[in-house]
Amino acid sequence: MQYSPMILQYFESPLHVGVLDINQPGVGMAVVKSAETGRVIELYVQFDQDDRITNATFKACGCPVTIAVAAFVADYLQQRSRLDAQQLTAEKIARHLNIPKSKYHCALLAEDAVKTAINH
């Protein structure tokens, strides 16, 4: 499979790898998985009192696109408002990373992770 330069960038050099302490106030997390395909994304977000995301981290296991979308959303969410985060859809993720149709389900998984984490 030929991956886009954006996918390769996030796959090869991901930022914000790790976990946050979910016992801390303002921390939300999501664990979304597709057991049939071995994909798992864990996403952590830290909100401040102004409902702004001061930190977001991820862990991911799966194909290169799975890792890339997780790395991308963790990067995208840095310093974003809750509203901005709510508007991050699979379509936006797929467009930004130039994800092929056959891998669109990875973007859906990432959207799911964002929505779950910010509503935690």
């Binding site: 597709s34 071995g38 994909r39 991911a60």
Partner: protein, 391 residues
Amino acid sequence: MSKPIYLDYMATTPVDPTVAEKMHFYLTSPDYFGNPSSAHTFGLKARAVIENARAQMAAVIGAEPQEIIWTSSATEANNLALKGIMSQRQYQKRHIVTCQTEHPSVLEPCRYLEKEGCSVTYLAPKANGLIDLNELVAAVREETVLISIAHVNSEIGVIQDIQAIGQLARSRGILLHVDAAQSAGKIPIYLREWPVDLMTFSGHKVYGPKGIGALYVRLKPKVRLLAQMHGGGHESGLRSGTLATHQIVGMGEAFALADTLMTEENRRILALRTRFWHNLQQQNPDIYLNGDPIDRIAGNINMRIDGISSEALLLDLHNIAVSISSACNSVVSQASPVLKAIGLTDAQAYSSLRMSLGRFTTEAEIDETVARMTTAIARLRALSPTWPMRP
């Protein structure tokens, strides 16, 4: 970027230089381009070369030359064997026993034959990939006509006990077809002594060219089958189509060469595999072999690497060529049926990959692969929420 490393010899092999040279001669010579069916000197010369190649193959597998039918590929040979037997009037709508881990070129003809009214039992192998002979006995019925089992599995490289399966088949008057695409030229085959009725061979898996295969059809006792390619009646009426002299030369030469090199090559490749596996495991915990470790051909390493996706590992390995059989291209699972059949979960199948060593694999390539895999595994495990594995 470093030189590419090829570790996918079970997918295909490069044509051995000796084989390529001989093929080139016959491809370019003004003396051997004739139609081998023609009665003039051009045809007779080409025919003689083909019969020499047929004798070469026969000698390697312990068969008579006239028991070898040339086909375009192992896939065609498998189709000819299965459909050629079961389309005969007395065998229509009867029963076949095969295994869930067979190559698609056996499974798909079986599925086709089911639509034509045959019944098929797809045996599940044991966790090590080998067939349980008791289960085979239990699966065989009054109306069973044919058993089809691969000698060596194309994904996990395990070696089935063809002689025991053959003895069972003989005792019940059932025909045995063996797909030897991954075994011939790598491990000894003695068809004069083995109770096998049909056997499939591939040229490009044993350093011969692509586009040529063969089917062994036993003459004593005579196995009858119906041709699937009709035309000029070539190959005793079993497979019509003008024979490709240079391709057949290539296959004969590849088999003869493989036979000469077999013992030493196996020893060398096994030593490389042992070195690779030992070093990889020493530097990376929780890596497991899929399939039996002993009853396995020398070059195959089908492994599971916990905590990561092999699709991601493949990308990190850049120009190291290995094979994965499970890829996430949709929401629905596409985990390898072979790995699922030996008891792996979907997730474990997605963590697995097949590496296969061969004639031109070097120690330097093995060592570089271990080093690059170790780096990649560490990187991907650091990203992974499923690592370390929780009990």
